[in-house]
Symmetry: C2
Subunit: 344 residues, 2 copies
């Protein structure tokens, strides 16, 4: 089965994306893979499998690789004489900006390329933490209360401790837990460094966290095991990053069947009618037995492969079940009735 | 002042976009304009000003025009020997799918092209009627109640009369007013022809409608006059279409200063922190003195030029005040600490 892994991107999670690509490569031994690296200037390179190592990218060696360009249905490698075309489905593994904010999805949809990953709309509402909240509430899924701040409106009404987050970063960069009123201003300054929109939400001590991944395949929704992530106050960039690259077995969280069922039902409510084509991970809080959506990772680190018994089978199932592209036949029916359009 | 008008697209509103482009061309006499037509197969053509008429497109004559491709910062016209590059800001005038669903915004953002129009996130939440509702409620703006339906969940609980709409079409296509229970099934069938997600909302007889356009310029928010649109039960495709091409003077709605202020304040609440860079039109309902957001048109027909006293000045103001592109400097800091990334 053929698949292009698209990774890199102009994002704070550029490095994470490289690690994800290397990990996923190792987890898909039976696939025929093409590696398409997007650098920070949005140039695309065709990377040999043997070059899929950290140093090749950090040292800039990738610049010697052949460049690719998007073309309808895939990629093209232009040569002095002729060109090679690659028509195959794509796994969007660009994390954070570009990959998860809808930019890459827009490109892939414009060029009519089949891909695993969130579509433009699903990207936006998982990437922007404000929209995730608005959307979840709209679907009847509980979220923690929050306030939306701007550089001009920095007054926080929520009680401390609170957590301050840039609204549109796909990682924990710029995030602070504030326990002391004196620390709030600095935390806001840090967050506004990364985004003009910042959210503040209550920081709940000792909250239970559970992660669940899933996708819609041939036979309906497929769920991973439920993971109870390693806890610190909150996972910062370093910890998340190390987390993303793990390949060890993860044990299922010790929860009862009723809670697992509740998490799955909440996941389905989020997924349905928006995330088809993507394997996503939802991170939940459980407080007094109630499930709250914390965030949606529409392109989880290393595709959350470690949460699935048969990851390779999951990817194959997804590829066989990607959303159909709607072909809109343009007709010229009205235009001649419009005086202004006659150009007179 | 230079500006490329990007129009067409693979959308049910392809024709409307052509009419918009012709109208806007007439309304920007002092601009140096480039006309970039996107056909239904996503090929781009450079159209001469003299060819900006209905027949040129409907007859397929545009296929003889030189083709363009996106390139960083603009467009490129490739020739057998050498190529011509066009680096200039773009007015995204592609209505409906492609233009307003975030696809085109994703492309423009990926290629680092300055443009007038909604960014990816703003596109998604104005294009998808469900998201508009969720978002508006999140911002404390009232909307009519609604139900979200899928082909598998077609039971409507709302009382009749109701209005049935595909969730993700930028026009009135597939929309029906249902007054009679017998007509509901057919209306749903029609809507599901266009989208797997459909919304139903109450149809309010004799509701007052007001449209207000605006944008953020050099000196803050700039608002158009308030228009009371011509009423039918609801505006269908034909009426809207004709509406889009009007060039006649529109009279301000006869409303008091308090209501106008309320409409502006609601507009600002929607716009802030999401729609910067775009000139949008918000369509409101007023029921018992309360303002409800009906829909957001992030690329209104012919840019709602007829609502502005100095449309040309408005466009120049917008161009001078487009959102800054954030340049993310990718650093390789963590990757060498990750065992899996070493490729061993």
């Amino acid at each position: 089965m053929k698949l292009a892994i698209l990774f890199g991107g102009a994002s704070y999670e550029h490095e994470i994306s490289i690690v994800s690509a290397i990990t996923v490569m190792q987890k898909l031994p039976r696939f025929e893979l093409l590696f398409v690296f997007c650098d920070q200037d949005h140039r695309l390179y065709l990377v040999e499998r043997s070059n899929m190592k950290a140093k090749y990218f950090s040292a800039g060696d990738y610049k010697k690789a052949p460049q690719l360009a998007f073309k309808p249905g895939g990629f093209v490698q232009k040569r002095r004489l002729g060109s090679t075309e690659y028509d195959l489905p794509v796994l969007n593994l660009v994390h954070g900006a570009d990959g998860e904010d809808g930019t890459m999805a827009g490109l892939l949809q414009f060029y009519g390329i089949d891909f695993i990953g969130p579509r433009v709309d699903a990207s936006v509402l998982s990437f922007d933490k404000r929209m995730t909240k608005w959307f979840a509430r709209g679907r009847g899924v509980a979220v923690l209360d929050f306030e939306e701040l701007t550089p001009a409106r920095r007054d926080v009404k929520l009680a401390l401790p609170c957590i301050v987050k840039p609204a549109r970063l796909g990682s924990s960069i710029g995030v602070s837990v504030v326990r002391d009123a004196d620390a709030l201003d600095y935390a806001l300054d840090v967050a506004f460094e990364f985004d003009e929109s910042v959210i503040v939400e209550p920081f709940v001590e000792g909250v239970k966290e559970y992660n669940l991944a899933g996708y819609q395949g041939e036979n309906g929704m497929v769920y991973s095991i439920v993971e109870e992530p390693q806890k610190a106050d909150f996972l910062d960039f370093d910890k998340k990053y190390l987390d993303f690259s793990r390949t060890a077995e993860v044990r299922s969280a010790e929860i009862d069947a009723a809670l697992e069922e509740k998490l799955r039902a909440t996941f389905a409510r989020i997924y349905e009618g928006l995330f088809e084509g993507a394997l996503i991970r939802c991170d939940f809080f459980v407080i007094d037995g109630d499930v709250y959506l914390n965030e949606i990772n529409p392109i989880p680190g290393s595709m959350a492969n470690y949460l699935f018994d048969d990851f390779e089978g999951a990817v194959a199932d997804l590829i066989g079940h990607l959303p159909a592209r709607r072909r809109i036949a343009v007709e010229y029916r009205y235009i001649h009735t419009i005086h202004a359009a006659k150009g007179k």
